[in-house]
């Protein structure tokens, strides 16, 4: 299996370096030197540790980080006292067996009640002291859904993520019984609006984007999480801690990025074969760009023109036709072609146990694919300062498309990422496709922007 592919993390290296320095500046001055060095050890060369939990980049993650500080201090103090004390006592107390005199016993101390009470009560007080800020932090971390904030539903699936945007603000579920109350935004909501199975119950106007979550920076984004198959865990270390996506349940969480940038994550709960290859990417855009992005995502993708009578179809058109015959069985492309529309929405479960394959309508606008393990763009120079989020939207373009990788993926996806197509989980290999077919498919996919 070959996996030495372009890393996913190289989109905005400059931002990372900048943030790394910020972090050092932000280190609290109070803690002991030991704490500082622990933090430094962990965040050493911060710029190339995209999942580092010691580099919060949003208020939620920052809150967790701040809460940890006192417990690190306690730990280090206890460590020094207990472990240091033990070693010192060992060294001073040691007697060589040959020097040992069995009638010269040390003082036979059986115990000391005051000491016992002291070391029962002191840790208890210390821990009680930590408990208060901890409990308040637990409640702070719970999602506090305010109107106007962007609502996204996160759906975990073996082994990629799907993000559903509540664009029109009417929740993710239709108001089936028409009472104005909705299921599943907060708490359990109106149970009567629940529909089954979950993946078909979504409001039609909403937008589905796989693999890359795009959010407006500087603004809280509320997440409603669930899973189509097994338990996964949504985790963007720099933006917040984890929250599991549990099938049959809705869980709630929120993330918040201070600044534009790309933030990486990884599935945080073992979820079967390719758990290791179920990663995440969140891109925070400045508000205006986000709106632009959203508008683009909501539009239909183009259908390559049919060739004029007697002429060969363009590679894109040829690819489109292969796509319609081979791929549309699982993948959605939302466009104006009524022939394809007939297939959509269709019965995913017939093909896939997990119930869905990535929506490819705007495939080429994303910088990662296949569970965020692959970068779509080749030849990116990590030191290129122009590669900033601000031109995220311009990144999409054929010159940069990582054609070789995409070709390999289409030909034999399970080779790139262990999957279980025969168990109806994941994408099958297509040994039957000719090289030209695949070339054409790649050409077509590149137009989806």
């Amino acid at each position: 299996m070959s996996v030495s592919l372009t890393p996913t993390t190289s989109l905005t290296p400059t931002t990372k370096i900048r943030k790394g320095r910020n972090f050092v500046r932000r280190l609290p001055l109070g803690p002991t030197g030991a704490l500082a060095s622990l933090a430094l050890l962990v965040s050493a060369c911060a710029e190339d540790k995209p999942l580092n939990t010691f580099e919060p980049r949003g208020p939620k993650a920052q809150g967790i980080y701040d809460l940890m500080t006192p417990i690190w201090i306690i730990m280090i103090v206890v460590f020094v006292v207990v472990v240091g004390g033990t070693l010192v006592l060992t060294v001073i107390g040691r007697v060589k067996p040959e020097d040992y005199d069995e009638n010269d016993l040390p003082k036979q101390v059986h115990g000391h009640t005051v000491a016992e009470l002291a070391w029962t009560i002191a840790p208890a007080i210390l821990l009680a002291g930590v408990s208060f800020p901890m409990v308040s932090a637990i409640w702070d971390l719970e999602r506090d859904n305010k109107p106007g904030e962007l609502d996204v539903m996160v759906i975990g699936q073996q082994w990629y993520w799907e993000y559903r945007y509540d664009v029109d603000g009417d929740g993710f579920f239709e108001d089936v019984d028409g009472d104005g109350e909705l299921y599943g935004i907060e708490g359990d909501g109106d149970q009567d609006d629940k529909e089954w199975p979950l993946n078909l119950a979504l409001d039609d106007d909403d937008l589905s984007v796989p693999n890359q979550l795009v959010i407006p920076a500087g603004q809280q984004v509320d997440l409603t999480l669930t899973s189509r198959d097994v338990v996964h865990s949504f985790w963007i270390p720099r933006l917040n801690g984890k929250r599991d996506t549990v099938p049959g349940r809705l869980t709630f969480w929120s993330i918040d990025a201070d600044k534009p940038g790309e933030y990486n994550g990884a599935c945080g709960e073992f979820c079967g074969l390719s758990h290791a290859r179920m990663r995440m990417s969140v891109v925070a855009l400045p508000e205006a760009e986000f709106d632009q992005w959203l508008k683009n995502q909501m539009s239909l993708s183009e259908v390559p023109e049919e060739p004029a009578q007697g002429q060969d179809p363009s590679p894109e058109r040829a690819g489109y036709e292969v796509f319609a015959s081979q791929c549309a069985r699982c993948h959605v492309v939302n466009n104006s072609d009524s022939a394809l529309q007939e297939l959509y929405p269709k019965d995913f479960e017939a093909d896939l146990l997990s119930g869905a394959a990535p929506d490819l309508t705007k495939f080429a606008t994303r910088s990662v694919f296949a569970g965020a393990i692959f970068s779509q763009y080749s030849g990116i120079d990590p030191d290129d300062d122009n590669l900033d989020v601000t031109n995220y939207l311009q990144l999409a373009g054929t010159e940069r498309l990582n054609e070789a990788l995409l070709t390999r993926w289409i030909k034999n996806a399970p080779e790139e990422k262990a999957m279980y197509p025969e168990g109806r989980r994941g994408m099958p290999a297509f040994p039957g496709l000719s090289d030209t077919d695949v070339e054409n498919l790649v050409a077509y996919l590149a137009t989806l922007d």
């Binding site: 149970q191 009567d192 629940k194 089954w196 199975p197």
Partner: protein, 230 residues
């Protein structure tokens, strides 16, 4: 697992009346039996909680109209009734189950009288009461088998629905316990007829009795929690 452990207990209960020195002045078997029963509390507790949670989830989905869950009970009329009452009560036949609960309760009385008889060297009554206990237990089991078939006909199957899985597993586990108890009672009865169950062995009867009463207690819980509070 239960089978094996309980089987072992029968075998080892023979050393009930040993007269060796022990720290607690109790026989080892008696201490062991109480420990085993303590551990059974956790087992049945887990099964009862599983039932409660599964039933709650089943009902929530059913009341919300989940088509899969609706289809999981092979009886539209029953489903409608459950949805109307908001409970699984329509499934149960309370008078019938009350009767079998009563039978089990009565068997506990017979059990305790058997122990009393054997410790007073009244072997005739010992046999009578042991047989009565076993008989009452068997009636209970017969009732349960009848109930299972009736429920199955009503559309509740073990593999079909969450409720079915949870219900049959809980009551089935209890039924297996009762059956093992009956086997132990029959063994005692045989021993008694062979003249091997005399006063000195009263403790063996007491131990089987402990097990029997415990199984009865578990039914007290199940009857209330499962049947009366649906």
């Amino acid at each position: 697992m239960t089978t094996a452990t309980a089987g072992v207990s029968v075998a080892d209960s023979h050393d009930g009346n040993e007269a060796h020195r022990t720290s607690l002045n109790l026989s080892n078997m008696k201490v062991a039996m109480w420990l085993f029963l303590a551990s059974e509390c956790l087992l049945f507790g887990a099964l009862i909680s599983t039932y409660l949670l599964s039933k709650a989830r089943f009902l929530t989905e059913l009341l919300a109209g989940n088509p899969i869950v609706e289809a999981s009970i092979d009886n539209p009329g029953l489903v409608r009734e459950m949805q109307e009452t908001g409970s699984v009560e329509p499934l149960f036949d309370i008078p019938f189950t009350s009767f079998s609960s009563f039978v089990l309760l009565m068997s506990s009385l017979a059990m305790v009288l058997a122990h009393k008889a054997v410790s007073e060297a009244d072997y005739k009554n010992t046999r009578i009461w042991l047989a009565t206990t076993a008989l009452l237990g068997s009636i209970f089991i017969a009732g349960q088998i009848y109930e299972f078939t009736a429920f199955k006909e009503e559309g509740l199957s073990f593999t079909g629905s969450l409720l079915g899985s949870a219900f049959y597993t809980l009551t089935g586990f209890h039924g297996v316990h009762v059956s093992i108890g009956i086997l132990m009672l029959l063994t005692l009865l045989v021993l008694s007829f062979k003249g091997k169950l005399n006063q000195d062995r009263a403790e063996t009867v007491e131990l089987v009795g402990l097990y029997w009463h415990f199984v009865d207690i578990v039914w007290v819980l199940i009857f209330t929690i499962v049947y009366l509070i649906p």
